[in-house]
């Protein structure tokens, strides 16, 4: 069992599912011979043929729309959108169809489909290549949003997403595509959706985060522990619907909540978590909730992107402030 990157784990999961389920097909721009611009689908077309792993014309709305059509007719399409900055033409199909096909036909038709897209900043990419807009999809009823933050979770969660009978937007933190290798058993075992993963236990402060920010948060927690502050770090993982219980239990223990995400603050997913705790866990809170997020501005071009993003220092600052309150 060799150590693999997050990208490798995704490729392994897709290969496993293509191998074991004939209904699974992949589609997207440049995913075939080229193996995807990040090489996530490398080798899959060669192995499973161009009828299973399809290059499409350049039209994201089309990719989502035909995926819905295929899914409603019994296939399990896994579509790749090249970058999250180009995902917006799919919004119409996702909110008006994918998320409601099951409900509006009272279960007669449904959409077992996955939309994969790399998201987030920190890789010095050009304009429009570093966005984090998971909140848009999280607000859509009927759609799951899932974000892995390790090779093992990438493998198990992507399998779960493909097998899920409902639509899943599966966002891949490209900043950590290749950074942290891990041993992953290629055994076809899925991980549960709709639950958070507690990555570090602690008693003073709860830090809820996801995607690449998991690493900044863990680093910050490490630093804090040297200062005698014990942080519990929770990887939200399923961004929508939220696993309220795990978060509430943690806050009940720590009494302090910090939420960390790359996306803009205003109406980001952090707002939902804070609101949920302010409703359900208020009496457990010893101090105000804090969000450490991207600012409410356009993601800057890459020379300034690190100034936009939450950092170990910014997270640490919020944690210390919480302790001082």
């Amino acid at each position: 069992m060799a150590d693999v990157t997050l990208i490798d784990a995704l490729t392994m999961a897709m290969a496993w599912e293509l191998e074991h389920d004939d209904d699974v097909v992949m589609l997207g721009e440049d995913i075939g011979l080229n193996g995807g611009v990040f090489r996530t689908t490398a080798g899959l077309q060669e192995r499973f043929g161009p009828q299973r792993v399809m290059d499409t014309p350049l039209a994201e709305g089309m990719i989502a729309g035909v995926s819905i059509g295929m899914a409603a007719q019994g296939l399990k399409p896994v579509a790749e959108i090249q970058f999250m900055g180009f995902i917006y033409p799919i919004v119409d199909q996702m909110i008006n169809h994918a998320g409601r096909m099951r409900n509006r036909t009272r279960g007669r038709l449904h959409c077992p489909m996955v939309i994969r897209a790399p998201f987030g900043g920190g890789i010095h990419a050009p304009e429009h290549h570093s966005e984090s807009t998971e909140a848009l999809f999280a607000h859509m009823p009927g759609i799951r949003v899932v974000i892995p933050s390790s090779p093992a979770r990438a493998y198990g969660l992507l399998l779960a997403a493909i097998r899920d009978p409902d639509p899943v937007v599966f966002l891949e933190p490209k900043r950590i595509y290749r950074s942290n290798k891990q041993a992953v058993a290629d055994n076809g075992e899925a991980l549960p959706l709709d639950v958070c993963y507690i990555l570090r236990e602690g008693s003073d402060v709860t830090v809820v985060t996801w995607g690449a920010m998991v690493f900044e948060s863990l680093k910050s927690a490490e630093q804090m522990s040297a200062q005698g502050i014990s942080c519990e770090v929770i990887d939200l993982t399923t961004i929508s619907p939220i696993d309220e219980q795990t978060i509430l239990e943690s806050v009940a223990k720590t009494g302090r909540l910090i939420i960390v995400h790359e996306a803009a603050k205003n109406c980001g997913v952090g707002a939902e978590i804070a609101a949920m705790v302010a409703e359900e866990g208020m009496y457990d809170l010893r101090c105000p909730i804090r969000r450490v997020t991207g600012y409410d501005i356009v993601m800057p071009f890459y020379r300034r992107e690190m100034d936009y993003m939450p950092s170990v220092a910014k997270i640490g600052d919020a944690i210390r402030d919480s302790m001082d309150d």
Binding site: I68, A71, A72
Partner: protein
């Protein structure tokens, strides 16, 4: 890339004066068959006007009449096989009825009840589609599924003239052209998109010419001619089934009624245009043709209409007698497995529900 700039064919066999063209395709010359189709058209028309009445009397929500589209609708459905799949627009419920959706289901849909889209037959067809042109992509996707499984099935999308302006319509034709998908894109050109005439939608010579942008075949037919509609749909479907790829079929007709029951077409179009269109509408010519073959007359029509009316009344009663769904049903079909967080919301809705009567 193949050449597709060829001239667009225009099909008409049953002329406005009721004469059937001698060139009409073999298989169109049996008047009894045409009579069968005509009966379906009559049924659609009676149902349509009943639905308008239900809306006027507060028993149905906003309803988009298909008055004038009956030959197009019956012709499209008649050419399709049971195992094919339809992706209809919001106006073309007539096609759905002909495919087996029940009248009560159609009424439930416009009566604000989701069960209208859970029709018993045909189970694989897509429900009504309101966001214009989006269904064209679903049809293309369905065709991809059929192609993937090697099934001998076709998908049919029905779109309007206004709907051809949406990028989704073009994108669907384009992918269908690239993958030679077994799909037929039908454009019911009824000359109007609410208040916008087709000349203000596009400068394209015809809507069928739009096929050229995707390298697929485009063809026009007189949408008031049941023979031409069925024939060109049959051709397109047969070609698609044989692996010959997609076709764009433009059916030229006229929206004789208001856009919907909340529209007043008098605000934006001239009565004389409507009058001219009325002379060309599908029933006049079909009646003349059938009369000339001595298999239809006023008496037969009256008998059939009575039968229709009875069926429709029964469906209406069935619809009106259908109680609201239990309130929790609005939660139960959101996901295959309900997420934890919805449970409390469902309980809240049930707690506050005091509107089980309409």
């Amino acid at each position: 890339m193949s050449d597709s700039s060829a001239d667009i064919r225009y099909l008409r066999f049953l002329k406005p004066n009721g004469e059937l063209d001698k060139d009409a395709p073999t298989g169109s010359h049996d008047p009894n068959e045409i009579a069968d189709l005509f009966r379906r058209m009559l049924e659609l028309r009676v149902f349509d006007s009943k639905a308008i009445n239900l809306q006027r009397t507060g028993k149905l929500g906003t309803y988009p009449s298909w008055y004038g589209h009956e030959a197009a609708q019956v012709g499209v459905a008649a050419a399709m096989k049971k195992e094919d799949v339809l992706a209809p627009s919001y106006r073309e419920g007539g096609v759905m009825l002909c495919r087996g959706v029940s009248m009560a289901e159609i009424l439930l849909y416009w009566g604000g009840d989701e069960r209208g889209s859970d029709f018993a037959v045909p189970r694989d067809d897509f429900p009504y589609c309101v966001p214009i042109a989006t269904q064209c992509l679903h049809a293309a996707g369905a065709a991809m599924a059929f192609q993937h499984r090697g099934e001998s099935r076709c998908a049919v999308a029905v779109n309007g003239d206004g709907g051809t302006s949406e990028g989704a319509f073009y994108e669907a034709m384009n992918i269908a052209g690239v993958r030679k998908l077994p799909v037929v894109f039908v454009v019911i050109n009824n000359q109007w998109a609410i208040s916008v005439p087709v000349a203000a939608q596009t400068s394209s010579s015809t809507l069928a010419h739009k096929a050229i942008a995707a390298g697929i075949e485009g063809v026009q037919a007189d949408g008031n001619d049941i023979v031409a509609v069925r024939h060109c749909m049959r051709e397109a479907l047969e070609k698609a089934r044989k692996g010959g790829g997609p076709t764009l079929v433009e059916l030229i007709t006229y929206r004789l009624g208001d856009h919907t029951t909340v529209d007043d077409a008098g605000r934006y179009r001239q009565q004389d245009e409507v009058d001219t269109a009325s002379d060309l509408e599908p029933f006049i010519r079909t009646r003349k043709y059938l009369a000339s073959k001595n298999i239809w007359d006023t008496q037969l029509e009256e008998q059939f209409l009575e039968q229709c009316t009875n069926n429709i009344e029964a469906a209406v009663n069935n619809y009106l007698a259908t109680p609201k769904e239990a309130v929790e049903q609005m939660f139960n079909h959101m996901y295959a497995e309900m997420p934890e967080s919805l449970l409390a919301q469902r309980a809240h809705a049930i707690h506050f529900c005091d509107t089980d009567k309409d």
